[in-house]
Symmetry: C2
Subunit: 468 residues, 2 copies
């Protein structure tokens, strides 16, 4: 069995044996079966518990050997001292994939933890059974309605594949769910980030990869693999453990070495990985790769009903090396025709005097100005500014965005939205499916810049292949 096939047993089990499911249910019990029932897991679970016959109406088995099937996967959630024996039981049963949720192995500060982890690794190697963890939330798979975390998580089939060194990512960020499919490698005693990369490389449901990296023992093997994957799908990475204090915490979290941050920076860039600095940037960048087409260059047109926020948007573009272009003469002439004669038209385009002074209806003025900007050959993407001061504004915006996406499919359209109806207007805009709204122009410009960076990586690779 290839590595991706084995990882698939872990991420997409048609059946699994759950060792160490508690009889306690309800609030504060963190009972996995309860979550699985709520999710509507599409496979079959065999809980193992020697003290009862059923939990939540689901038949239980006194020991692994009593389970009537060799399941795709076993999940072990027991006090650490009982884990090694449970691994042996599962291997003996013939199970080829195991997740160890339990903590207190390489992540512990005692010898006993490391010794037991070594024993588990030896069992994996000698049997060919692949082991994820210990010290992990395990996996999540929205399509299968499956998650091994002891906390309930939100699921969304969104094309995101996540490889993480913490299960906290399973809960999702504020602007995006990271499940899709997700793997928390935990202490990574056997299955590691590279194995997971190979799985997601071949997984057709996964369109974008999110990596959360604390550290790893074999960076060379990782970088070779991730570059190969990055040529096929966007890979966005949050590398943590940057400061001295947090690097120390990495050691006690997963037993990994954080490594020198500036080396990571260079290595990830060379490998075509988009590195992000924080979780908001991670969410924004994933959303951009899922939704927007890549701009053909860094030329930006800014479209705004307020001069002041147009300036803020221009500052933001400049911060991320996006150029607020000089429009062509044709565009300028078109804008002048729509505006009062005394208005100094240019980029950013302040279209509101066309409404308040020239008397053009707002939606018509907005559409006319947007069409002029989009059609400008120097413009590769448009950053719009809009005050979300009423929920109904989202409808007009979505109608315009839909038209632009149809007529200018290669020029991404993003909006900086502000005000009390931000969420409602953003939801309308994003219902178009090809546009995004952001809560600051910096976040919008940064997302475009990341798209451009990846496009540049792909062209460089293409050029070097042809050149060689």
């Amino acid at each position: 069995m290839t590595t991706p096939d084995q990882i698939r047993l872990i991420v997409e089990p048609r059946s699994f044996t759950a060792v160490g499911v508690s009889r306690r249910t309800g609030p504060g019990s963190y009972n996995l079966l309860e979550h699985l029932v709520r999710y509507g897991y599409k496979g079959h679970v065999y809980p193992v518990n020697p003290y009862t016959d059923e939990i939540l109406g689901i038949k239980t088995y006194p020991r692994v050997s009593a389970v009537p099937e060799v399941t795709d996967l076993a999940l072990i959630s027991l006090p650490r001292s009982s884990v090694v024996q449970a691994v042996k039981d599962c291997i003996e049963k013939g199970i080829k994939a195991i997740i160890i949720i339990s903590q207190g192995f390489a992540d512990a500060n005692d010898e006993e933890g490391r010794r037991m982890q070594d024993e588990i690794v030896a069992l994996a190697k000698s049997s060919g059974t692949r082991i994820l963890g210990p010290n992990t939330f395990g996996v999540a798979n929205a399509a299968l309605r499956f998650c091994t975390a002891y906390l309930p998580i939100p699921m969304e089939e969104n094309g995101v594949g996540t490889i993480s060194q913490t299960g906290a990512t399973f809960v999702g960020l504020n602007d995006i769910r990271l499940v899709g499919k997700a793997i928390d490698v935990g202490d990574a005693c056997d299955v590691d980030i590279v194995d997971c990369l190979e799985f997601f490389e071949q997984d057709d449901d996964t369109r974008v990869l999110a990596l959360h990296i604390e550290g790893m023992p074999d960076a060379k093997r990782f970088l070779e693999t991730v570059q190969r994957v990055a040529l096929k799908k966007p890979v966005v990475a949050l590398k943590t453990g940057r400061s001295g204090r947090s690097a120390q915490a990495v050691q006690s979290h997963t037993g990994a070495l954080a490594g020198r941050d500036e080396l990571w920076d260079v290595a990830l860039r060379e490998a075509g990985v988009v590195r992000v600095d924080d979780i908001e940037e991670l969410a924004d960048t994933l959303r951009a790769f899922l939704t927007l087409s890549a701009p053909g260059g860094n030329g930006i047109g800014v479209m705004t009903p307020t001069g002041g926020f147009g300036i803020i948007a221009a500052d933001a573009c400049s911060k991320f090396d996006m150029e607020v272009v000089e429009f062509t003469d044709g565009t300028m002439a078109g804008l002048r025709a729509l505006s009062p004669e005394w208005l100094g038209v240019g980029n950013p385009v302040d279209y509101f005097p066309g409404v308040s002074i020239m008397g053009h209806p707002r939606d018509e003025m907005e559409l006319a100005a947007m069409r002029l900007i989009m059609a400008d050959e120097r413009v590769d993407a448009v950053l719009g500014v809009m005050g979300a001061f009423g929920p109904e504004l989202g409808d007009d915006l979505a109608a315009m965005a839909r038209e632009m996406s149809r007529d200018f499919p290669d020029k991404p359209l993003v909006y900086f939205l502000y005000g009390p109806f931000f969420e409602q207007v953003r939801a309308k805009l994003e219902s178009v499916g090809t546009c995004l709204g952001f809560s600051s122009p910096e976040r919008a410009a940064r997302a475009l810049a990341h798209l451009l960076r990846r496009a540049a990586f792909l062209s460089r690779y293409e050029a070097s292949r042809k050149g060689g």
Copy 2:
């Protein structure tokens, strides 16, 4: 009349004459009277319109001279060519404060605009009438239910005073409303940012000042005044027009000069102004000054249910020069007693093994760990991490936060919240009134850093005063 008294006529008029109110009402009409009715303006408005007797049931007057009262304020919203005559009419009537909404003066690219603006300035100087604008949204005042903008805006009596070169700020940012009280100085032909500073300096309703600055002619006078104000209340400034392209746009927006950005940076810091880089930072920082007590130093305790996000939080603290401290022996002993013996306890504090392995109820474990950290003499503030995976989690969090605020009032408590119920959990936490939730640990740490920066400015000033 002192400048603050004159500005008060503009910001808090008991009555005003509205010159140029349209008969058109309903969607797309941008009719000011309609907004005032909806707000419930607590003063009296006299609309001037020669073509009708009433608009929306409100009696109108054919010309300024026919208004039966000398109102506190006049508002002029006419085509630019009619503005000078309207200003003359208002002055003749004896009105001492005028707002000119109309555009096309110093902001225009023609001679005519500048010439008319000069004429207006001369009228102001010779009459003693103060003029705000032109090219402005005017003012907003939540307590008075008053706003002169032609767009409807959300109002909130929140202690924020805003001085802006764009009315876009009136609509508010995503995490805070900027009204409070707000003044858009527009082209600043007469009333300028410094005049507004003097008003807010004396305004008891205003606890924190937000400045949006594009540029100004007399930076020296501004810096002297703003430093004086900053000693009394926090002043947070967003200075825009940083890039070449945006500085050019500033010129055509309000006719101001953007100035060299690095000089602004130094000057604002020296004056005790907290400079922010973008509108999200502006919102976060204002919220911090409104809500949190200033930490006594940069020592941070990080409290987390997930090792991985604890590391991310530690990175964030370090980025903003907040120190994730070594706890005292007493704190360490207390944490060890709550945790499995093999757990490498420290800062960040991962309290979840105390729940999942030691079996402490989550709320009790959280409270016990939080209390230990808060009591540590090296800790000046606590950054908590929490997954918002259920709306009910906000209740426990708020209960704990309330207790901490009572027992440790000088140690601010902020949370990084993530997940699908972010808004609900944050609202519960913030209902305590002394704590804040943020969507990234960077934003939380940055807010604390700004509090600390202002505290340092005040101590330096105090020391230099005693020293001198």
